[in-house]
Symmetry: C2
Subunit: 320 residues, 2 copies
Amino acid sequence: MKLLTLFLLCLTVPLHGGILESWNDTQTRTAIIEFVESVTTPASDAFVPPAQRVAVFDNDGTLWAEKPVYFQLLFAVDRIKAMATDHPEWKTKDPYASVLRGDLKGLAAGGEKTILELIMATHSGMTSDEFEGVVTDWLKTARHPVTGKRYTEMTYQPMMELLDYLRENDFKVFIVSGGGIAFMRPWTEAVYGIPRENVVGSRIASEFEYRDGVPVIVRQPRIAFIDDKQGKPIGIYEHIGRRPIFAAGNSDGDLQMLQWTHAGDGLRFCLYLHHTDAEREWAYDRDSHVGSLDKGLKEAADKGWTVIDMKEDWARVFPE
Amino acid sequence: MKLLTLFLLCLTVPLHGGILESWNDTQTRTAIIEFVESVTTPASDAFVPPAQRVAVFDNDGTLWAEKPVYFQLLFAVDRIKAMATDHPEWKTKDPYASVLRGDLKGLAAGGEKTILELIMATHSGMTSDEFEGVVTDWLKTARHPVTGKRYTEMTYQPMMELLDYLRENDFKVFIVSGGGIAFMRPWTEAVYGIPRENVVGSRIASEFEYRDGVPVIVRQPRIAFIDDKQGKPIGIYEHIGRRPIFAAGNSDGDLQMLQWTHAGDGLRFCLYLHHTDAEREWAYDRDSHVGSLDKGLKEAADKGWTVIDMKEDWARVFPE
């Protein structure tokens, strides 16, 4: 009886039971596991000591969704509405007036300059502690305009399992995102298990001052660093100080990060998430105004990087 | 017999056996232990969860010596000499000519501007990987001009034990130094057990570019961030994203870091190292051109911060 039970168990326990469970058994999943086993097996030629096992992940469109627009922009829109009573002049002044009318198309037409103005109006002018409180409060109640879910429920379950799998194999996991570093840090530990010091992102300038004798850090309306495109390897160099052996992204904004990772010595793993699932999430690549993936797809093919086909490779998209 | 052995053992094992062994049993050592026990005892009102146990340490004069001048400046001097064959014009051009003549006093007279020029000439114009190699090679052979020791042998043994003690109590330990981040990172893990991603420091600008199609990070001759005075809390906010509960320094350049730490909620520990030992190390404070400690001493007394009296509190200064 006992032997039979054991035998049945052997038949039903998959080879890599318990890991990457929301991934279909495709070549993508196999490639990830083969890479991790290669760099963590001491006898392997590709073995990498734990201290050097740095893995970096883009956030928007890689760890959580980014449609219809980056969630941080939706945060800015909600903040404009909340702050409007203190700013009566916004009723007639664009881009604020467009936001207050709910005219997001007019907003999108304004492009990067408009977005930056909204970010500055909502992300600066307060202390570091005050901004942290604002982000935390917003996440508790805000809902995604299409799905009605909380934003932190729109993380990708297979990617959460990938983070866990890498950490179980003594990787140090970092976020390297074009999004605001101070916008992400209040929640990345609870949502992704990534502590705030492992978050790299864009940032505005900050200044140290005394208010009534109390030292505070005050957020300033000036861009200090854009952690996108060429900025990503620079952000990694300045924050982490070590070239990753594993990098994952989903857009051309991640291309330089993947190139720099790929160019290191020894075995490296570069991973693109291709959004191909219009039913369970969104399908987009070259022509999308957020998360455009064009040059990256070509280079991935040229260099043999792994590309996740969301529709084919993932058994599940969001946590249940 | 067994009981007697046990009894004798109880008599000889000190209360905190095995920790902070190079510290004399003074009020300073007691204060450190009381703080750590308070924040790590779950039943304590002052308990702090591990994720929030951030400890920050200045480097020059706090973890290793800084006399006669910052070791990084001695590195720059050695580099000027090594690079001189490629720069014949330096023989007649100051500050390089002073360096090549060994006239360090003339150098010191030039002040901050001169030092910056030497730093730029020796720290920029190469890739990130090349600079790492230069620092690593220098540390293998360079000797301190007064003691003849290797620089990495001029770390403070009691502080190494303090780093260990904090880590054993689930603190996350960071360096927050006015020194160059890229100068420190190649060796902090081996010397202090502090991984490179836990090092915050001053930095020059870096740019991402392709050389023969290979992506590289190139160090630029422009200051990007000075991690000193007001810069220290800003550096902590940007890199770590969490206010420390423990901060240690030795100069007025650390004062804002200690003030910002002190101003947080709950129990905090601010620690100054006062260099009082002219026999075993150096004795200096208010009037020193490196590591000047003046306002800090006054504020430490006003606020009840702990001040290490090197001569009285340390049984040993350097590792043996």
